[in-house]
Amino acid sequence: MSLVTPLNRVLGLGTASGAAEHWWMQRLTAVALIVLGLWAAVELTLLPDFSYRTVFAWVHRPYSAVMLILFVLAVGYHSYLGVQVVVEDYVASKALKVAFLMGSSLAHVGLTIAAIFAILKVAFGPSA
């Protein structure tokens, strides 16, 4: 006989640990990426070349910088959720699963922050 209520026992476990928010954020970032992904694809085709000068001028423009930051944020979040699902589905060993999930979380946060910092540095820096 446990003193813990059935609800309290499942909260924080499996599907009770915020599945609805996971589902919702995956869709929200997906819808954002329809716009941001197409924007990124079109912008990349419009760049005359990929020299330092050209790419710097592109990221330096406030409009592209803001769109790029939104793109990187949406990609980072969407990828974080997607990789998490794949790891949870296919990694059977609990220890490995936790290790992969932790590594993935740290890598996603680290790379997303680093990419945003890079964009801001170019955007606020002196024009090349």
């Binding site: 992904g37 694809a41 990349l44 330092y52 980072g76 990828s79 990789v83 059977a92 997303t112």
Partner: protein, 126 residues
């Protein structure tokens, strides 16, 4: 590192492969490959932020002829995941669940992704 050994019910091997299964697996595989591609994107942006020298340091890799292959590959992953993602969003609102519609939307995804990959590769990569 083995989990608990449990008996398994017949799985993929007992079904005839059809487009829904292909796209379902490809959605996950392309998603994972795009996550790897996002690392390349971060490296590219960081190299840019580092200045002309650090940009020149990664340029030989990004501009190498052989690197066009992964770039075109990521382009295909992007458009397939994109188009199939829109298909998923349609299902989320309950649209297009009839077997014929599912098959038709599946082939549409493959055709759109192929054409978009060809166009983007022609304009931005090759």
């Amino acid at each position: 590192m083995q989990g608990v050994q449990r008996p398994l019910s017949p799985h993929l091997q007992v079904y005839r492969w059809q487009i829904t299964m292909w796209l379902s697996s490809l959605h996950r595989i392309t998603g994972l490959l795009l996550s790897a591609g996002a690392i390349a994107l971060a490296v590219w942006l960081l190299a840019l932020a580092g200045g002309p020298q650090s940009y020149a340091a990664v340029q030989p890799l990004f501009a190498a002829p052989w690197f066009k292959l992964p770039l075109i590959g990521w382009t295909f992953c992007f458009f397939l995941h994109f188009a199939n993602g829109v298909r998923h969003l349609a299902w989320d609102v309950g649209a297009g669940f009839e077997p014929k519609q599912i098959s038709a939307s599946g082939w549409t995804v493959i055709i759109v992704a192929t054409l978009a990959t060809a166009a983007f590769s022609w304009l931005a990569i090759v």
